[in-house]
Symmetry: C2
Amino acid sequence: MSFLASSVMHVDIVFENGVEHIKLLKGINDEHGGVIVEMKEPMAPEVFVTVLRDSLLQWKHQGKKGVWIKMPVGLVNLVETAVKEGFWYHHAEPNYLMLVYWIPETGNTIPANATHQVGVGALVLNDRRELLVVKEKSGSFQIIGLWKIPTGIVDEGEDIFKAAIREVKEETGIDTEFMEILAFRQSHKSFFEKSNLFFLCMLRPLSFDIQKQELEIEAAQWMPLEEYAAQPFVQKTELLKYMNDLCLAKIDNGYAGFSPRATTSIFSDDLGYLFFNSLDLDQSNADDYSGKKK
Amino acid sequence: MSFLASSVMHVDIVFENGVEHIKLLKGINDEHGGVIVEMKEPMAPEVFVTVLRDSLLQWKHQGKKGVWIKMPVGLVNLVETAVKEGFWYHHAEPNYLMLVYWIPETGNTIPANATHQVGVGALVLNDRRELLVVKEKSGSFQIIGLWKIPTGIVDEGEDIFKAAIREVKEETGIDTEFMEILAFRQSHKSFFEKSNLFFLCMLRPLSFDIQKQELEIEAAQWMPLEEYAAQPFVQKTELLKYMNDLCLAKIDNGYAGFSPRATTSIFSDDLGYLFFNSLDLDQSNADDYSGKKK
């Protein structure tokens, strides 16, 4: 399903006997029987309320279901009007508020807002079994003085594996190649009501001279893996111990994580990355993927 | 990090010489040097602007950084005032808008909003190599008439594996036990600007009599896996073919996906599920997890 509104909304304006009549909001249809209006031009709330009511009446006649209004922050003066006419908040970004309204008498099937932030942690090991670690300048890890792996948040629209490469580069200056996701963890209420999905990634270093980032990173180094693991906080913290054991299982015992492969979407040619245990899949029934026979 | 605001904001009111002075917004401190204000009581915009300005001055003196105002939809009349004072939208849910402001001169480190919706698809196979499939009543799959696996969106705060169990139950009435995540796929701009993470799950059926859901499901049945895979749309769609091959690799060739294990968080005892290749981890260096020796 796609809710992308590419065309621009405008208001029909008709002149009758020299009098300007602003008639209806114009939107584009979505794939679910709804309409998406992208507000652009300033409008007085007194005008907006009339246009909005007339538009809703027409959409009702047309059998429309959901009505979306993307309201830029510059038109904040129209938000109160929309809410008083029955719209509610769907989601917001710094520059706009998305309002939504449900026309039918039946219960609404408006999809929920995004629910998860996505984070990455990067295990980067060199040939001497040294792990790339940093000390942060602020936050909970700074307080306990832990040497930790680079971590960060996946940007909007960013691929997970690219985020891992970017975070390592930003924090330490090290270039890397992505290998696998060893594990991931879902946690709730990590950011207000939102959940978090954290992906533990393994990357191969392509450079070795550390250039630490000044703003957030106190120190960075290649640290013997055993020394990292021996830190008391790692020893006593279940999740960090799992992460360390997964790292050891990978480098010493052929642990198979999930690696990304670009695939097209079901109803479009949009590429996305499918992550799976490619070692096991390629060894099984799918000789068409890798060219290898069973 | 936690941004949960549990206490309730109120406004200090002081009487001087019988005159009521509304003084400052009260918030609670967050862990990042910021303050979170939860607006509750109605207030006139003319009053709010004064209180807000005085509060910002005090927070600035206190060296505060980010200021969050959670504004319930009932106080929509105050949103314009906040925006005009320099607040911007952070995120919104049906009942409130979260506004944010950055006090220091330096660039802001306000974390981004949630970026991903999370979806699940459920592979449920019985002992006769029959796959639990449905036909939907609307949407793109209905148009092409595909027999497909049950899918759905993970609710806010819901565990991925519980969502898979719930969706199967809702759409088909079948009880299941969660086994593994075989793969996941990240795609972008799937819902306005938001990305999607779709988890392909394998579940074991615990009951077999189908009771299909009326609202969204046209039909549901146990279908021989080969018949499902032979559908032309499955054959020609890369992603569906991968999903089918992963299913076959799992049931015929011991493909190892990721299974969930409850672990506590790093800085709290909050439980979350870590998903990893437990077969490989338990067989490697971690005999303390499963009790098995190498």
